[in-house]
């Protein structure tokens, strides 16, 4: 089992460092580049959710990301010590709404839920913990899907 961790303050300026962390894990584990999308997207969406909605004014909760690979199952956990917040509690956007009626927000977590095999939220002590898993397929070809 391979595991890597990185902790950063909940500041939008940290997003490139997190993306780099994921990309380095990906190439070190020799995973197929075409299957990185769900994890890249989930990392940005979940992290930015904490930055924009889970950080009370004047505070920057600490966000810890871990990636662990067991067999071909990749688990990404994002934890933060901000106020209790379950991003999975929000209703999904209406994907059949028209251009003018479609809400501007709420797409991120919806995409993450669709792309991952499993997503779960837990409040663990004083931390929010969002855990996402997806099976990686070694065969090359089509980019990962659902």
């Amino acid at each position: 089992m391979t595991e890597q961790r990185l902790a950063v303050p909940s500041d939008a300026a940290q997003l490139p460092a997190l993306t780099r962390f994921l990309q380095e894990f990906w190439s070190a584990a020799r995973l197929p580049p075409a299957q990185a999308l769900p994890f890249e997207l989930a990392l940005e969406e979940v992290f930015m959710n904490v930055v924009l909605h889970g950080s009370p004014a004047g505070t920057a909760p600490r966000v810890e990301v871990s990636l662990s690979m067991r067999d071909l199952k990749l688990t990404m956990t994002v934890e933060d010590d901000g106020p209790e917040f379950d991003p999975l509690a929000a209703p999904p956007p209406d994907v059949t709404a028209s251009l003018t009626a479609r809400p501007v927000g709420g797409q991120g977590v919806f995409l993450v839920r669709q792309m991952m095999d499993a997503v779960s939220y837990q409040r663990v002590g004083a931390r929010n913990q969002l855990r996402m898993t997806k099976e990686i397929t070694r065969s090359s070809g089509n980019p990962s899907r659902g």
Partner: protein, 118 residues
């Protein structure tokens, strides 16, 4: 993220290159707003050529949604074309491919764009 522009008659092509993530979204939105403001006077078309766009997150989707609405209000034709697999997947899963016009390639997008002043 780098953004290039091309003008072909009444059509402005916007060509974003690289990653359209949260960090890039605000600057990209300003670029598109400027192009739409310029296009509105000519009843023209704006095409976002995504052939060099590697990644889009919900922050990028938001820019496309707002741009498509602004274009609709102004009567400007607005479309995307040449989506790479990672961008296409995000568009399809979000349902945005149903509300924003997406062409397979630049030639098809140009063929659908208006050619005469309205």
């Amino acid at each position: 993220m780098n953004v290039r522009f091309e003008r072909l008659a009444l059509t402005t092509l916007v060509i974003p290159e690289g990653r359209l993530d949260f960090g890039a979204a605000a600057a990209f939105q300003r670029h598109i707003e400027e192009v739409l403001a310029g296009a509105a006077t000519a009843s023209a078309a704006v095409i976002i050529d995504c052939s060099a766009l590697d990644y889009v997150s919900s922050a990028g989707l938001r820019v496309f949604l707002l741009a498509a609405r602004a274009a609709q209000r102004a009567g400007t034709s607005f479309a995307l074309c040449a989506l790479k697999p990672a961008v296409r997947e995000v568009f399809e899963l979000s349902g945005f491919s149903r509300i924003i016009c997406v062409h397979t390639d630049r030639a098809t997008a140009l063929a659908s764009a208006p050619r005469e002043p309205a």
